[in-house]
């Protein structure tokens, strides 16, 4: 009995880390945008849903193979993110917070409506690129999808780290985010760097969408809960810290899967699937109260 519950525990932990990887990808998108433009993009989840639908259309309606379809969806999301920043975000990002919030909310409503209008509300099935098999290691059964998700997350984090740490472009993007005025003085094309940040975020969101779709069905509102988990992850890690977003994402995934694991015991029997979103909300509120800058963020100092 003890052995069974240990493998059960580890299995739950692995699937928690796998969903945490998805939250981390979307949280990274939120963090990149917040760092560079100081905007919290409420439409990030819907943009990811749209990307997943594009991949679905290419495979299902046009008979493409999975990988070219996914790559095309990523590329379109990247270009779309840049276009969104250039056209509708840039004019309002320096204005009042309320305007920015309403514009990204408008985007959320419009994209959600577009998905519903174009593809209808009935759930669609997007195949998993990693197959539907399972791997057994020492009695612990892990699905290919979970392994693939975890590997993808590691790959993303590695690529982003290489980009920001070792390339001139990454340096310019960081400079534009941290100190736009001085970056401009040394010749960085700041607005393009910010737009590039939006493109990158949209592509990251697309990855999150493509990873989410096989685990649930593809629906217009598919990413709304994931967005809240990603918000919780970003806040937990510190909304300006990419490392924090990844750690926060994994932690949120783990916390939620541990809660559902524990709910088989009477002390936690009050927990069920319906309480996953409120639990994420609780994470957000507690972090903001106890340590507003998150685990990896620097406290904000306001000058008068």
């Amino acid at each position: 009995v003890v052995v069974a519950s240990v493998t059960d525990f580890v299995q739950q932990a692995v699937s928690g880390i796998a969903s945490g990887g998805i939250y981390a990808a979307l949280a990274l998108a939120l963090v990149i945008i917040h760092r560079s433009t100081g905007v919290i993009n409420f439409a990030q989840g819907e943009m990811a849903t749209l990307s997943a639908y594009i991949a679905w259309t290419l495979t299902f309606n046009h008979g493409w193979e999975y990988w070219p379809a996914a790559a095309t969806a990523l590329a379109l999301s990247f270009v779309g993110g840049i276009a969104l920043h250039r056209t509708i975000i840039r004019p309002v990002e320096r204005g009042s917070v309320l305007r920015v919030v309403v514009v990204t909310i408008g985007l959320l409503v419009a994209i959600n409506g577009f998905v519903l209008w174009q593809w209808g509300g009935e759930p669609k099935f997007l195949e998993s690129p990693f197959g539907n098999g399972t791997i057994e290691v020492g009695g612990i059964i892990v699905t290919d999808q979970e392994v693939g998700t975890i590997c993808t997350t590691i790959g993303i984090v590695l690529l982003l780290w290489l980009l920001f740490r070792f390339t001139k472009l990454g340096l310019a993007m960081r400079a534009a985010a941290v100190n736009p005025d001085e970056a401009r003085l040394v010749g960085v094309r700041v607005t393009w760097m910010l737009a590039l940040g939006w493109g990158l975020a949209a592509a990251l969101g697309a990855v999150a969408g493509l990873l989410t779709a096989p685990t649930v069905l593809l629906e217009p509102t598919m990413m709304q809960p994931v967005l809240i988990y990603a918000f919780a992850a970003a806040v937990l890690g510190g909304i300006d810290s990419p490392v924090g977003a990844v750690v926060g994402g994994l932690l949120v995934g783990l916390i939620l899967s541990m809660l559902s694991y524990l709910s088989q015991y009477s002390a936690f029997s009050w927990f069920n699937e319906e309480l996953k979103l409120p639990a994420a909300l609780l994470v957000i509120l507690v972090v903001l109260l106890v340590r507003p800058s998150g685990l990896f963020g620097k406290p904000e100092v306001k000058r008068v």
């Binding site: 305007r99 919030v101 309403v102 419009a110 998905v115 519903l116 709304q224 994420a280 909300l281 903001l288």
Partner: protein
């Protein structure tokens, strides 16, 4: 204009507005009266949101959640939740539940206002958005209180005024729809006067000081904690009463009655209204009550090409139009429609001033 004449003009304008509201149902069909009752309900909620966002500058994307708290309070007090295994017997007449709905929401607002003290700007928007998203599933979880996904139905209860037959008020026989119209607008007008009384004095000044500069407000002895939580409480109380009325209008409550979109709509209403006076709020309420219908081409159908009307009637079509209009509005009218009124008013005022010189 001297302050005195300004006050008189304001009073006359309000009196005229009351008269317009009172005679309005005579000119519209019974069915339309019901739609306009919803406008009145939105006005109440927007008045509350205006206290929070307009006066203290705190953004709430979760006001639908406070409406839900009020709505559930009303429904539970009327129908009880014993049938789901809950502790409340119910049996309260609908009107009496509304003040309690306001009170419960007020307490919830104070409770949420405390953590919100630490947050500002985008972070508060984020936290309140999470509240709005988490609320429906919370309501589903605590089934013994809320009736879970099916919710609570009020349509045939004796506690619901005007559910079956006409309502007699002071010798007038009102159809259920007109009753709802007069009920929500009477409460809206009283709510406006109450808000005006609260905001014109010391409290209103403190709220505005907090909005313009928290640091300056603290330096002049305004307690941030006290006024920011108070603003949340008052604002939530308005939303609670509006939520109670909303449930009386829909005659049932369930997690789907208060979706995230409702919270979004309320913020949109306040932004379109331009965080201004009553005129702006009424305009905002009209937009959020009717825009979904307009966007489906209901009323404007004859003005637009058939092809567009047809496409916009497909599911999601109205949402596309709504979202795009919202983004365009933020570009064209950064201060909302009330901003235009104000600018035009100022322009006229200036001209008069220069003429009299």
């Amino acid at each position: 204009m001297t302050p005195r004449t300004k006050q008189i003009v304001g009073f006359v304008a309000f009196a005229a507005f009351v008269v317009v509201v009172a005679v309005f149902p005579a000119f519209v069909s019974d069915f339309r009266a019901r739609e306009w009752a919803y406008v009145g309900i939105y006005v109440i909620a927007l008045l509350g949101l205006n206290v929070l966002t307009g006066y203290t500058g705190q953004i709430s994307l979760g006001h639908g959640a406070f409406m839900a708290i009020g709505g559930y309070t009303t429904a539970i007090l009327m129908a009880g939740n014993e049938q789901f295994g809950g502790p409340i017997g119910g049996g309260m007449k609908d009107l009496w539940t509304l003040p309690i709905a306001g009170l419960v929401a007020f307490l919830a607002g104070l409770a949420f206002g405390l953590p919100a003290l630490r947050l500002s700007g985008l972070y508060l928007a984020l936290a309140t958005f999470a509240v709005a998203v988490a609320l429906p599933s919370t309501a589903r979880r605590f089934e013994e209180w809320t009736g879970g996904g099916n919710g609570i139905h009020l349509s045939n209860l004796p506690e619901l005024t005007g559910s079956i037959e006409n309502v007699d008020v002071l010798g007038w026989s009102l159809t259920p729809n007109r009753w709802l119209y007069y009920l929500s607008w009477s409460i809206a007008l009283v709510a406006y006067v109450v808000a005006w009384l609260i905001l014109r004095g010391r409290t209103g000044r403190a709220f505005r000081a907090v909005r313009d500069s928290e640091t300056a407000a603290v330096s002049s002895g305004v307690s941030l904690a006290r006024y920011k939580t108070l603003a949340f409480g008052i604002s939530a109380a308005y939303a609670g009463v509006a939520g109670g009325l909303f449930v009386l209008a829909t005659t049932s409550v369930s997690p789907d009655v208060f979706p995230v979109t409702l919270s979004i709509f309320l913020l949109v209403g306040i932004v379109i209204g331009g965080l201004g006076g009553l005129s702006g709020l009424v305009f905002g309420a009209i937009v959020i009550a009717f825009l979904p219908l307009w966007a489906q081409g209901e009323d404007l159908g004859s003005l637009l090409p058939d092809r567009i009307v047809e496409e916009s009637r497909k599911p999601g079509g109205s949402a596309i139009i709504f979202g795009v209009v919202l983004i365009l509005l933020m570009f064209v009218l950064p201060n909302g429609v009330a901003g235009i009124f104000r600018r035009v008013g100022q322009a006229i005022g200036r001209r008069r001033f220069s003429r009299s010189e």
